[in-house]
Every structure is written in C-alpha cells, then in structure tokens.
Symmetry: C2
Subunit: 163 residues, 2 copies
Amino acid sequence: MNDEPRWLTAEEQLVWRSYIEAATLLEDHLDRQLQRDAGMPHVYYGLLVKLAESPRRRLRMTELAKYAKITRSRLSHAVARLEKNGWVRREDCPSDKRGQFAILTDEGHEVLRRTAPGHVNAVRQAVFDRLTPEQQKSLGEIMRIVAEGLQPSEAGADLPWLR
Amino acid sequence: MNDEPRWLTAEEQLVWRSYIEAATLLEDHLDRQLQRDAGMPHVYYGLLVKLAESPRRRLRMTELAKYAKITRSRLSHAVARLEKNGWVRREDCPSDKRGQFAILTDEGHEVLRRTAPGHVNAVRQAVFDRLTPEQQKSLGEIMRIVAEGLQPSEAGADLPWLR
DNA sequence: CCCAGTTTGTTTAAGATTCAAGAAATAGTC
DNA sequence: GACTATTTCTTGAATCTTAAACAAACTGGG
C-alpha cells in the first residue's frame, strides 16, 4: 500500500524498452515467416508442434492450452481453424464426455516436416546466432524466472488479498 | 546453401521454450492489467507513452509507428480508436500535406498520469523484482542485440540477394 | 514542367483474440 | 441419489491485427 510509485530507473527503462522492442519485432518476424511459409501464425504453429511432441500426437484441449499458455477459448477458435485446414482433427475423450482430444493429422504432420527447417533457421538467425553461449544460458534462466512468476498457479500463491 | 537444417540442441530448445512462454504470459498479463485499469491494450498504452515523451506531445504517424515497431496500418486503426476515446487527436502537418500528427490530448495525458503507477508496478512485479541487477543488465544487452538484428534497416543490410 | 517512382496515411475485408455467457459433464457432499 | 460447485469446452459479439489496394502528395530526373 505504498502511495508513491517506484518509477523505473533510467537503466531499467532502457532494459524494458529493449525487451518490448525485441519481443514485438521477433513475434512479428516469426508470424510473417510462418504465415508466408506455412500458412499460419506462430501460435498456431506452436500448437502443431506441441501435438507432434505428444504421445499418439494428441492432447486434451485443456492440456494443450496450458502448454501453449493460451486460453481455452482462444484454443477452441484456433483448433477450429486448423481443423478446417485439415491439420488437426478432434476426437471425443472416452473417459470424460466433456473432453476433446486435438489430434495432429498426417497432413498436419507433413506441414511441420516441410516447414520446420525454415522456421528453425529463422529462429537461429534472429536469436541464437547473435548470442554467445553465456547469453543464451542467461536468457533461458531469466525467461524461466519470469515465466514462473506468471504461471496461473501464481494467482494467490501468497494470499495477497488477505493483507 | 545447406540442405540439412541445424536443429536446436536440447539446451537451445529449453531456452527457446522459456522465452516463448515468458513472452506470451507477460504480454498477456500486461494486456489484462492495462485493459482493466486503463481501458486499452498494452500496445495502445505504449503509443500514448511515446507521445507523452515527445516534444509538444506529438509525432508524425510514421515516426510513431517506427518507434512502436508496428505497421502504419495498425497505427491508423489504433489512433482511430484512441481518437474516439478522446486520448489522441490528429492534426495536419503544415510542411507535408500527406502528413498527420498524432497528438496526446490533455485527457490522454491524464489517463497516463492516473494509470502509470499501476503499470510500472505490474512491470516491476513481473520482471524487475524477480531479477538480479546482473540479470537485468544481461536481459537488456540480449534484447538490444535481438532487436537490432530485426530492425527493418536490417533488410538487405548485407545484400543477401546478391549471393 | 512532366513523369515515373516513392512516401504517407487510410481503407476494406479477412483473420485472430478477448470477454462474457452458457451447455454439458463431472466431483464432492450431505 | 440429489444438490451444488467445478471443470471442460464452445459460442457470439466486440475488438484488434493483417494484408493488399489505394489516393494523395512529394521527389528527382529529364
């Protein structure tokens, strides 16, 4: 309950600005790259990758949403679109009648096979090729920390509403 | 050119995954925070900030788009919305009849004044408070490098099409 | 001056995302 | 079993973003 906000220092502002700019440019760059080469935005591509990495190439909608850090609503729309492309299909979950599996089709897998090299290349070119091994390690640690702090589990982790 | 793609190593994959997750969660978090407290998404808020930092609180559309790393088209839509909110107004450029200035209104300035503390707080809580000074510095360096590599100027910086 | 080429900014439509609301199934409790 | 709360997923409307196309104004030769 502090009245005067702790503004960012000049250094912090520069860091924050760099982060925002890089994140914006990078997401934009990868969106364009994938839209051009794979016909879908980065997030959708990520969904196909998650499915490809999963046993039997399938995941429950909620699981997939959790891994991809997006809402179930967004996922619903996304899968609908990917389904229309023939890259994903749905299947009912036998053990839970509410549940749905999203399943990567052969066609979807083929799209990944064809476009993954180009995408890896784009990521390398934009990020890894420009950073020293130490910087890569550091980036990993930093982003892991930030991500952990924002996991939904965080909500109420220390009961802030009781203060 | 090389036929076999250089896949990411296991370590690189972890770094990349962490980056994507953190960036997704963070942007999401800040969008929600600002939508709730300021009635606009993070990008729009950033536009107001840029204007507030500019002399006479105004920028040419193209300048603003460049600073914010977004397309002119996107900016057109955004400013149209902000104008409807009364937070920005447009003015013709006297020296270039094509040109338009986007100008932060008093009302827009007031929104910033009122919501900046909360936003700074959100950024601190999500990022700076969780990182050591060394990590903050490192993050700045890393993101500056990535951003530089993706600036539009980069397009053709080394004449790749001549190879 | 004239004209091709560029720059500036907007517009339209299609696509993507968010938010709130809701239907259906499950889980927990009495 | 019946009841309530929760979980799962979808839907529709509003908002935001993208991509392509365009008009208007500027630029730099000739």
